[in-house]
Subunit: 373 residues, 2 copies
Amino acid sequence: MIDVGRRDFLLSATAAALASGIEPGAWAQGRTAKPLGYAIVGLGTYGHDVIMPQFANCTHSRLAAVVSGDPAKAKAVAAAHGLPSSSIYSYANFDSIRDNPDADIVYVCLPNAMHADYTIRAARAGKHVMCEKPMAISVAECEAMIAACHAANRKLMIGYRCHFEAYNLEAMRLARSGVAGRTRYVRTEHGFVQRDPSKWRLKRALAGGGSLMDMGIYSLQAARYMIGEEPVAVTARESTDRRDPRFHEVEDMIEWTLEFPSGAIAGCQSMYSANQNHVLLMGDLGRIELEPATRYDGNRMWTGKDGREQERTPPPGPGKTQFAGQLDHLARCIVDGREPIVSGEEGLRDMRIIEAIYRSAREGRTIRLGTTA
Amino acid sequence: MIDVGRRDFLLSATAAALASGIEPGAWAQGRTAKPLGYAIVGLGTYGHDVIMPQFANCTHSRLAAVVSGDPAKAKAVAAAHGLPSSSIYSYANFDSIRDNPDADIVYVCLPNAMHADYTIRAARAGKHVMCEKPMAISVAECEAMIAACHAANRKLMIGYRCHFEAYNLEAMRLARSGVAGRTRYVRTEHGFVQRDPSKWRLKRALAGGGSLMDMGIYSLQAARYMIGEEPVAVTARESTDRRDPRFHEVEDMIEWTLEFPSGAIAGCQSMYSANQNHVLLMGDLGRIELEPATRYDGNRMWTGKDGREQERTPPPGPGKTQFAGQLDHLARCIVDGREPIVSGEEGLRDMRIIEAIYRSAREGRTIRLGTTA
């Protein structure tokens, strides 16, 4: 199902509420709100270095627990963040987090192949879930995660931080405003040079795939949120040097074309052998371009008729940082009883397309995307 | 046949000769060289407004005749350029140009569907031929043109002006120099907003196709000359609103992926519904980017690791302008008995790929490109 209407409504309603400073629902009614507590599962680069420092920028979220397979690291991190030892979990005793009322939300920052298991276990432990992207490594896993959260009546949100990033939000707004006219084409590439063959992202069992799972999902997301429609067909090609020790198990470069109901086309790409981070929307009246487009910081944006004529600085996003905006969004959705704007269903939509991209590249033909999503 | 070796040799030999100011062959030996005379066939925008003023920038070429279906226009143009009335031809009496020793070369600036006929007639009249791109509207036509010029022992060159344009030449040199490392990906888009449904470029019988024939061929050329290899497969998708009166007969937007023997991929696109003119090469060490890339003037170029870090101004091209460089190149090839660097065979290579692009889009599958070109 092409769910543009609902999605646009949520985006615009949320954006309006955030921009106006008016808090919808319970918070607006003056409820005393203790920030909700997050348990960070996985103390790797993203969970520890990127996410944990962001609670300092949050209003409605705080760090409540850590989950790690490394007891010494977990102890040191907990101490550094003032957490009691009762807030430290291993993967072995993770399920006992159900007895910790201080942890409202479990944030799954594990390798992709572990997302489903820990999301489902968190939901069964009565916790809401923030799960990093990609949501999982298959459509079947995504469906099981959604079902588990639904059965437990818990919220499920995917860590699509660009929906809380000022440049990307402004680019979406500009695209909808018609400043570029009728959208005909989006071009987006994401990649970086993966150097270390031992990285989990290069192991199929842990990553589920290569650059598409890691960076290509930004291209896929950007194509969808810039065009504001759901694609109806995908045609993909892959190019990987399998003799390269980095790429024995997963793809290096993959390029795919998405066709949208309006006739717009998105040319998307990802790779692990060059640095790129770019989103371009072309309409019949002009363009909106971001480069870098989806970085943690330092993004830039231009509009123009023929090129990068006017550089634009967007208004502030909903949080002090995109990460804080993302963390607080789920906290507020829980308190207000709303669905996150990037829900499990959104992650599932991407995963259906990702499976079709791989299939198209494998079979050398266009894959029509189902009319139900 | 992947003809990289020969092509690279010609490119580098020619570039070296041109850059050094040393004239190979007859000219270098001090032969008194009266500039060769061009007959311009077709006094439309390109032939009249773009090409004719360029003889003022040429060293080895001059205007010798005009061929037009409009007697009044032909007379006025001839007068303005100091040509005698004996140098004016209609399409009816064009073949009598064989008796005009002042016209060495016929430059075919007609609609695409007329390229083959006038090239073949020119060769049979004993004239060398410069033919605008696209070379023709089918592989069969290209083959007939090559055969006719071969039988008449006349040179045939295609008007691929970017091979004489300073920015594109420098971009090719930089790509070969390894400044961007191993080439993994080229992205190139060309298009503009076609507004007038009555234009010949929107009539299938005259244009042979839509944006691909007109602008997409720049993307195709750029992919080939930036990567320096011949593609082995193409996968294409088209998107055209056939209700739009501009696009009743030809395509608006077409996007295609070329796969190269080294594993490099080129994502190419053209359209008639937005302005774009862009070439980007990504290697594992950095990038080379042009935007605008292939305009008559005003092109710009950058290199960088992650983005447009260093803007570059190339050394001068082989002519005062790309057009003069192109016109003089054929004149010198004729005098020196060399093949043009952008010969009929080069035009044929593009036409084989263009036919495969259309076929891939039509059939929704990857088309392998023949190993003979």
